[in-house]
């Protein structure tokens, strides 16, 4: 893992260094102007959150049904990273919305489900921290529940009437925008993978420490 980590870190650093230049040179969206450039960080942060949630949810299912300790470690890492990227989406969205729609928070289906998803994974972390013995399994169930909310969040703009643009926006981006956008997505997903590796490494160390304490007793 350590052999892969450093090259991936270098690639991520290069992508994050190059992305601002690429984004700055991308064309402006006609009606929103400069503020539309938040799009290049806002949407990829949700993609990274979804990836972290799927990793947490699938790992939690493996932990619940097979009892694998590594899956539990990956589950908690995924939940924490999901909260991080979710907070980015929830902060950058209103900054964009205030200028584009005139409101910070429209309480439409998309933003409400997004907030609930973030709260679900904050609840996961709180249950794990304060739930006492057995809280791992309760938290794992919460993570699976959260994972099944992701398709609702993604499709909410197509199902309910919201002021968010529909999911067809990304495949139909005007020329000049898909390049920086997909570079940002790749950079965010790489960052997500790196943070997951670091965070699950921390859980691994904690498990090793617990094993040492048990040996000591």
């Amino acid at each position: 893992m350590k052999r892969v980590f450093l090259p991936v870190l270098a690639v991520a650093a290069a992508m994050f260094a190059f992305a601002p230049i690429y984004i700055a040179n991308a064309p402006f969206e006609a009606s929103m102007g400069l503020v539309s450039k938040i799009f290049y960080f806002h949407v990829p942060s949700w993609f990274a959150m979804f990836a972290a949630i799927f990793i947490s949810g699938i790992s939690s299912a493996i932990y619940l049904f097979k009892g694998r300790a590594w899956a539990d470690r990956l589950g908690v890492a995924g939940a924490e990273v999901a909260v991080l990227f979710g907070s980015m989406g929830l902060v950058t969205g209103p900054l964009w919305g205030r200028k584009s729609w005139g409101v910070w928070w429209p309480w439409d289906a998309r933003v409400t489900i997004a907030l609930l998803l973030e709260l679900t994974f904050i609840a996961y972390l709180l249950v794990r921290k304060f739930g006492g013995p057995g809280s791992e399994k309760l938290a794992a169930a919460l993570s699976i529940f959260g994972m099944f909310n992701v398709p609702f969040l993604y499709m909410s703009v197509n199902i309910w009437r919201t002021i968010h643009p529909p999911t067809t926006v990304i495949p139909t981006l005007p020329s000049g925008m898909p390049g920086p956008f997909w570079l940002s997505v790749a950079a965010f997903l790489t960052l997500c993978a790196l943070l997951l590796t670091l965070r699950s490494g921390l859980e691994h160390q904690r498990a090793a420490l617990d094993a040492l304490y048990l040996e000591d007793e």
């Binding site: 907070s87 950058t92 900054l95 200028k99 960052l191 943070l195 921390l202 040492l212 000591d216």
Partner: protein
């Protein structure tokens, strides 16, 4: 009593006579539902740059703070491991 009745009838008659004129009055021109942002008075226009900078700054700050918390927690666990190993070595285990 008659004076009171006369006053009430006068008010009612005035309202009834004025009502059609009031109803037929042209409504004020509706306010445009959409006003292009460039046509808003300068006080109502929000500058884009501070919002954009705030969004990007938050993303960077969040990643940095998160990395710092991982580093801090990792250091704490490693320090605890070293202390435990020293204690075990000291007690001859």
């Amino acid at each position: 009593m008659t004076a009171m009745l006369t006053r009430i009838l006068t008010v009612v008659a005035t309202v009834l006579l004025a009502a059609p004129a009031w109803a037929l009055q042209q409504p004020p021109p509706p306010k445009g539902e959409f006003v292009p942002i460039e046509q808003l008075p300068p006080g109502d226009q929000l500058p884009s740059a501070p919002l954009l900078v705030a969004a990007y700054a938050f993303v960077w700050l969040a990643v940095m703070v998160y990395l710092w918390t991982i580093w801090r927690r990792l250091n704490k666990v490693e320090a605890e491991m070293h202390a435990l190993e020293h204690r075990r070595a000291g007690s001859g285990r």
